[in-house]
């Protein structure tokens, strides 16, 4: 659905997109950083940042000019020695949690972590009840057998 929507959007907007691309892309939109360790950091971060234009893609995947500008920001900030999480925080401060594919624990998102634990506890509790009941039944049956 989303891909189809994005594709029709892209097809419909090729005229506009080509006009947007009459400007050369940002220097670090497609150019990797010279330091392989920094480039690896930048790449890992870019894969977990959402493109604001084609919203189901990461900025590492998207060819939208704005995604290129975001990659340029990420690479220049990492090249300047910024921590990847600081760069993520910089974007989250401007666009909200929404821009990041790696959810952080906050007042809004803690149930994401708490829910599986709560379900696990509930499952153990329910299963204990079941086992107890079947155990009791089992021993009752065994006694019946002895008597019979």
């Amino acid at each position: 659905m989303r891909i189809l929507f994005c594709m029709t959007l892209l097809l419909g907007m090729t005229g506009i997109a080509s006009a947007q691309q009459s400007m050369p892309p940002a220097p670090y939109a497609y150019q990797q950083l010279d330091d392989p360790a920094q480039e690896a950091e930048a790449k890992a971060l870019m894969e977990t940042l959402r493109c604001l234009k084609c919203q189901s893609q990461s900025i590492a995947d998207s060819d939208a000019p704005m995604a290129g500008d975001m990659r340029h920001q990420v690479r220049t900030r990492i090249a300047a020695g910024d921590d990847p999480e600081a760069v993520r925080a910089w974007l989250v401060e401007r666009y909200g949690d929404w821009v990041s594919y790696a959810p952080s624990v906050s007042a809004m998102t803690w149930p994401l972590w708490a829910a599986p634990l709560a379900l696990l506890v509930l499952a153990v509790f329910l299963m204990r009840g079941r086992f107890r009941r079947s155990n009791a039944q089992g021993s009752a049956n065994a006694q019946d057998g002895e008597q019979g």
């Binding site: 400007m23 401007r94 909200g96 821009v99």
Partner: protein
Amino acid sequence: MTSWKLWLPFALFLAFFGLVASGLLSPSDQTIESKMIGKPLPAFDLPPAVTDRPALSAADFATGEPKLLNIFASWCVPCIAEAPHLQALADAGATINGVAIRDKPEDIAAFLARNGNPYTKIGADNLSSVQLEIGSSGVPETFVVDGKGVITYQHIGDIRASDVPLLLEKLEEAQ
């Protein structure tokens, strides 16, 4: 076990199915509001975008008078539709500063010659850096900035005739 309890798992399944189906069927693209509203405009200093308008920096907004910051581009089709309404805002006394995204000076000049030029100053943002700084995710967008340089309102998309009074009101509120 009463009969309604028998149906409970099925009802839960239907509720879950409905939730997932509605998520799949509703449009996935959503507007992303800037989280910078209520915060000061981040520092920036853009070069001039055209020869007949001065360059734009964040300091140009902290002058005591509320202003509009309009994100636009010559390649942006809704910007053409928006142009007469921006002019109406300018005619009503609003100061509008433009930020031109990824654009060539000659293209901007041609765009302004054809659609009118309501801008006091225009900065060239060729790397979308100011756009990213203020949490804007598309073109066009319009921000109301008060006289102290604090962002007070964001309008996403092109300004229609019906949006003009609201924006004038927001400018008034930012006084």
